[in-house]
Symmetry: C2
Subunit: 367 residues, 2 copies
């Protein structure tokens, strides 16, 4: 076994999930990630935890062939009571993404995926309120869509994952402070993106490899009704096996009033039609991981890139919503990315805090 | 996909598990059996059932590499509350056996396996009281130990599984009647096996592809204290990756008072030392499936062979124990087989009902 797999497992069990004796753990991993699962099970045993492995077809991604078979053959979905009971009684969750073929669920109708997500939402809400970690194993399908050899992709993944996460946390802390104090944020990129939103009263979290591994972003929730203007997500979105390019959303009073995309617009439409909350922003995130410098069609990595911002339509993370503020609720949460490397800036309460991808507290910043 | 995989899945979903709309199903299958899992998920969707896939390392066989990693690194085991909650809320269970390497857990200490089984017992008791089916997918490791090519083994498995199970039920019904009315049973084979036991008041079940697929046996429970004499299991037992040959058990007042084996006696010893119930018989079964005519080191098939009987030390199936009779309880249940083809007979209340593998109601029987 590649020794980096055991290092990866150590970070998951000790840093990300902070496993304690007696913890009931649920591991969701596709079979192509068996090596990582084995390494994780060794450490869960050492730590005195009780794991089981479990995947749901409603999720579609951790058991993709069976998930696809199920989703294509059923039209209405229920929240499975036994899955819910499992999650209710669990303490910590590991989800491993790894595709032999990233297009495996690409021929499932987007509205079916949406219906499945909705049915799965109550179960996922249970997980989100507990300890959880989402990570990546370097599988061939992910390497292929990144246009990398398998070995180059392994290096890419483990370089991003096996890091000094305390140092990353300190680097990001300055941006957390800026956003935590912020009222209005404006994001401008080229001629096609000029968006403002209020963060007043909401909380900014420092993601340093806990719930997402790799981590490397700071993120918060916009006040739902405050979002105004237009945003052009110039980096593509790869959603359930299909690529959406040049997604454009126009917001009025916090709601998407028009949208378009270059390719697979119907996928974007299905996302926005999930429910009312899917037409509002649930997250604003700022990528700050300088160790990720290539776009790989994988949101877990792409949204952390050092000169990007991302926004998610759909549900807001409860812990980013300040007391008394409204939480945007939805069965979906889909991130999309704006490249901030050129002709771009982030303004917080009238002051530029990032220009062309360089933060105010980094060398080379030009206010 | 081999069309026999979808036929196999149909038998599982319709005949064995009788899946109904809304059923919460747990599928436990190793990744090498992915094709069967996909076919089962298609049919579960059609039937309106809610499946999730789940495996526990305490079971050790459905996720063998992770299971081994866990078992070798932990010494004491707990019953995982989240696994229990999952099973409590489920309606039906499918367990698929399939090994890439049948020796995968062969280097786990037998006493560790026993401790894990004990911790897992409460969860398994929940399953045993509901609808469940244990079946086999033809994987390379199982083919290898059967000394068959992969293709020959595929033919062997699907010939045994894809059958007219109603016809098999009728064939077996005569033997059910004989044993249901029986008081004392005597089993004699060569010079080394002469065992008597009472079945008085207990119930004989007809296994025609419901809980075991393939099925093909009738089975009941001996009255725990009634077993007397010696039995030589002349067909080998393959238990958790290790072969036990020529197991011999000597019973007095229903309890094993001495035992031996040709090879890996310590595996047999560990089984018998699980608990008090592991030193008593929990099952007497008569193989009646004439479609299985080769020994393949796989209990699911071997115990169904047409001229064998098998007995299990450990727990009795609750449904075989008559009202008011004692049920043998144990954390284990391990079947072992006696070849009845030569110099052998089964006597029920003084009458020979099988001689040299041929039943009284079959052509060629010589009383």
């Amino acid at each position: 076994m590649d020794p980096r797999i055991r290092e990866h497992a150590e970070i998951i069990v000790e840093h990300s999930l902070e496993i304690r004796p007696g913890d009931n753990v649920v591991v969701s991993a596709p079979s192509v990630a068996d090596d990582l699962e084995v390494a994780v099970y060794e450490l869960l045993a050492d730590a005195g935890a009780n794991p089981i492995s479990a995947t749901s077809p409603l999720e579609g991604r951790t058991n993709p062939r069976a998930g696809r078979a199920y989703l294509r053959n059923r039209e209405d979905f229920e929240t499975p009571a036994h899955h819910q009971a499992l999650f209710d009684a669990a303490d910590a969750f590991l989800i491993v993404r790894a595709f032999e073929n990233v297009a495996e669920v690409g021929d499932v109708d987007p509205t079916t995926m949406t219906a499945a997500s909705k049915a799965n939402r109550p179960v996922q809400e249970v997980r989100l309120a507990k300890r959880w970690c989402l990570t990546q194993f370097p599988a061939v399908g992910n390497a292929q869509i990144a246009e990398m050899s398998t070995e180059a992709y392994e290096n890419f993944v483990w370089d991003a994952v096996i890091r000094d996460w305390e140092e990353q946390r300190d680097h990001q802390a300055e941006m957390v402070e800026i956003l935590d104090d912020a009222d209005e944020v404006r994001i401008v990129s080229g001629d096609s993106t000029d968006l403002t939103m209020s963060l007043a009263g909401n909380l900014t979290l420092n993601d340093y490899g806990k719930k997402n591994l790799p981590g490397g972003e700071v993120f918060t929730a916009p006040v739902p009704d405050s979002v105004e203007g237009e945003v052009h997500f110039d980096l593509p979105l790869y959603h359930n096996g299909r690529e959406v390019t040049d997604a454009v959303l126009r917001f009025e009073n916090g709601e998407v009033v028009s949208h378009s995309a270059g390719k697979n617009e119907e996928v974007l439409t299905a996302i926005l039609e999930t429910d009312d909350g899917a037409r509002r922003l649930g997250e604003l995130g700022i990528g700050m991981n300088r160790g990720i410098d290539e776009f790989t069609y994988n949101m877990l990595f792409d949204e952390k890139m050092g000169d990007t911002v991302h926004m998610a339509v759909g549900s807001a993370y409860a812990e980013t919503v300040g007391p008394g503020n409204e939480r945007n609720e939805s069965a979906t949460h889909v991130d999309m990315i704006v490249d901030m490397a050129d002709e771009s800036f982030i303004e917080v309460d009238g002051e530029v805090v990032q220009r062309n991808g360089t933060f105010r507290f980094e060398a080379g910043f030009e206010g």
